[in-house]
């Protein structure tokens, strides 16, 4: 098992510090939850991962495809194109001197090919969300190369229409079990983006991930993106194998990258 775990490739986030605290990147065979306030970069990270999973094996990536399940309509396809362009540019820069490799992958390293490998589902209710996760079993059996499933955002529809809260917990559990099974069966990563809400604990209001208590045990790793002063940071909130640590990152026109000293933040939340 150890050697198998060591051989597992990780999906890079584009930011070295973030990759480091994640143990190299997002793990396949695991469900990772990423939560944060609006505007912190959750969808940006989702798009980045959908692009980075496609980095060819020759360039150190997984050469896989992505499924992007959009529950809120936050996916901006022009942004995905920008991020793909940025990823291709930086990857080719890094491997600049390996001419043979560049020629072989020329066709794959185009933004349009990257976009063609992202399968986009737009869902508008929790029924559709449950249906799509059930359907994925058949879909993944046909599309063998999918290496990441991103759900943006996983709890949105469950926060509004459900009347029976106990039932909601059971349905969410069932959904998360199915997702876990998918990661193991098809050796892929599942990334769940989640919203935040406020909770009154210890005498004050604090931020917490939505549906936290009923959902919290369902994922392997939990990462929280937050503002630390004017910088974006990520914190490993829960993980069986990773230490609690935080790392700075930034969102640039090319996508998620290392934090720069010139990080600007609009002074409004």
């Amino acid at each position: 098992m150890l050697s198998e775990e060591q051989m597992q490739k990780r999906i890079t986030t584009g930011c070295d510090d973030l990759d480091t605290i994640l143990g190299g990147g997002i793990h396949c065979k695991e469900v990772t939850e990423v939560g944060g306030v609006p505007g912190i970069g959750k969808t940006q990270l989702g798009i980045q991962l959908a692009v980075n999973v496609q980095i060819p094996v020759e360039y150190g990536g997984l050469g896989g495809k992505a499924v992007y399940i959009d529950t809120e309509g936050s996916f901006m396809v022009e942004r995905a194109y920008q991020v793909a362009e940025g990823c291709i540019m930086d990857t080719l820069d890094k491997f600049g001197h390996h001419r043979k490799v560049i020629l072989d992958c020329q066709e794959q390293m185009q933004p349009n090919s990257f976009l063609a490998n992202i399968f986009y589902f737009r869902i508008c209710s929790y029924t559709e969300q449950i249906a799509v996760i059930n359907y994925l079993q058949k879909f993944l059996a046909e599309q063998k190369d999918v290496k990441i499933i991103i759900i943006d955002s996983v709890t949105f529809h469950f926060r509004q229409d459900f009347d029976d809260l106990a039932l909601r917990t059971r349905v969410l559990c069932g959904m998360s079990l199915k997702l876990m099974e998918l990661t193991k069966t098809y050796n892929l990563a599942v990334v769940l983006l989640n919203q935040v809400t406020t909770k009154f604990t210890e005498g004050s209001f604090q931020l917490t991930l939505a549906l936290g208590d009923s959902w919290s045990h369902a994922c392997t790793n939990r990462v929280i993106l937050y503002w630390n002063g004017n910088e974006r940071h990520a914190y490993i909130d829960k993980s069986p194998s990773l230490r609690s640590a935080s790392a700075p990152f930034s969102v640039t026109s090319k996508g998620i990258r290392n934090a720069t000293s010139q990080c600007k933040r609009v002074r409004m939340m």
Partner: protein, 333 residues
């Protein structure tokens, strides 16, 4: 989709009958129950339940598209309303996006309404001038809309176009101003709006301002009760945007931060130094309408005055500096 009837899904009749007998009529009913519970309720084996659920899911699941085909659709059908402010259009990949909710946030007096007036003009202008050649529905909740001001902006921004007298009239005629001041009225009129959009070839919907509708409703200053009320209008606006493929622009106010406002996670070290707290309180204005609204908005343009220069930031991308000269916003290189 969720309300599709199981009886119409082509399941084997024996299975379909069992579902009907237990009053599970729609896909929503069936998929809301975990499989184990379905098994017990229908008194069917797990395999049968699994295969029925699979079939129902496959039918209900919306069709997928590759991101490439999404892109091609946008190119073909148009995807953006250019603001003609180069830095902003670059950052937004072309302009205010169709099919999404764009929010304008900022303190009062900074120019959100001016920006809305400009956008209305841009949408009304004929194609040859870079516009969408369509009508605009402008929902005015604070009685701030001024046709005079709009024509003035038109003459300033597009002098050559507005030279001809008839043009100002024609453009003004394309902008439908709807005045309302309460949330219940808004919700009622939203339904009718759907038909208006189709009938009149509307290319842009503006709500100025959303916060004003809500601020009249509750006296308490916390965001909690308000969010609940906005849930339906919010999802309706979003679906309007997506199905009509038009941009929807909403303005939002800012309010000062309360002391018991949450901005920390449990793992973050609380600032014990009170002076630091004060600085943070001072420099952080909170957009009204709360966090659930903010999550649902796709693009947020933040207007901030910074010693005479406007600073417009967009979620998830870089900030651009704009200059303000007498209400005429232009790019500052």
């Amino acid at each position: 989709m969720a309300n599709k009837l199981i009886s119409q899904m082509g399941l084997p009749p024996s299975i379909a009958n069992v579902f009907a007998a237990r009053n599970i009529m729609t896909a929503k009913d069936a998929l809301s129950l975990p499989e184990f519970e379905l098994m017990t309720l229908l008194d069917m084996g797990l395999d049968q339940v699994k295969s029925a659920v699979e079939r129902i899911s496959e039918i209900i699941c919306p069709p997928y598209q590759t991101a490439l085909s999404l892109m091609e659709d946008r190119v073909r059908l148009g995807g953006h309303l250019p603001t003609l402010l180069r830095g902003l259009d670059d950052a937004l990949c072309g302009g205010i996006p169709f099919g999404a909710l764009t929010e304008l946030v900022g303190p009062s007096g900074i120019g959100k309404t001016q920006f809305c007036l400009k956008l209305s003009l841009l949408a009304a202008l004929p194609f040859c001038y870079g516009g969408l050649n369509g009508r605009v529905v402008y929902i005015d909740t604070e009685y701030k809309f001024s046709s005079h001001r709009m024509v003035e902006i038109g003459k300033n921004s597009f002098p050559q176009i507005f030279q001809s007298e008839g043009m100002a009239q024609q453009m003004a005629g394309r902008i439908i101003v709807v005045r309302m001041s309460s949330l219940p009225e808004f919700m009622e009129r939203l339904q009718q709006l759907k038909f208006t959009l189709i009938q009149h070839d509307v290319k842009l919907l503006i709500v100025d301002s959303m916060a004003a509708l809500v601020s009249g409703v509750n006296d308490t200053s916390t965001a909690g009760p308000k969010q609940h009320l906005l849930r339906w209008p919010l999802s309706f606006l979003k679906s309007l945007a997506e199905f009509s493929r038009i941009p929807v622009v909403v303005t939002n106010q800012v309010r000062s931060q309360n002391t018991d406002e949450a901005f920390h996670y449990p793992f973050q070290v609380q600032e014990k130094d009170s002076s630091k707290n004060f600085e943070r309180l001072e420099s952080h204005l909170i957009a009204a309408l709360g966090i659930q609204w903010a999550h649902a908005v796709t693009i947020r343009l933040i207007f901030e005055a910074h010693s005479g220069v406007w600073w417009v930031g967009e979620r998830g991308a870089v900030e651009i500096l704009l200059a303000c000269k007498g209400g005429h916003v232009q790019h500052n290189p």
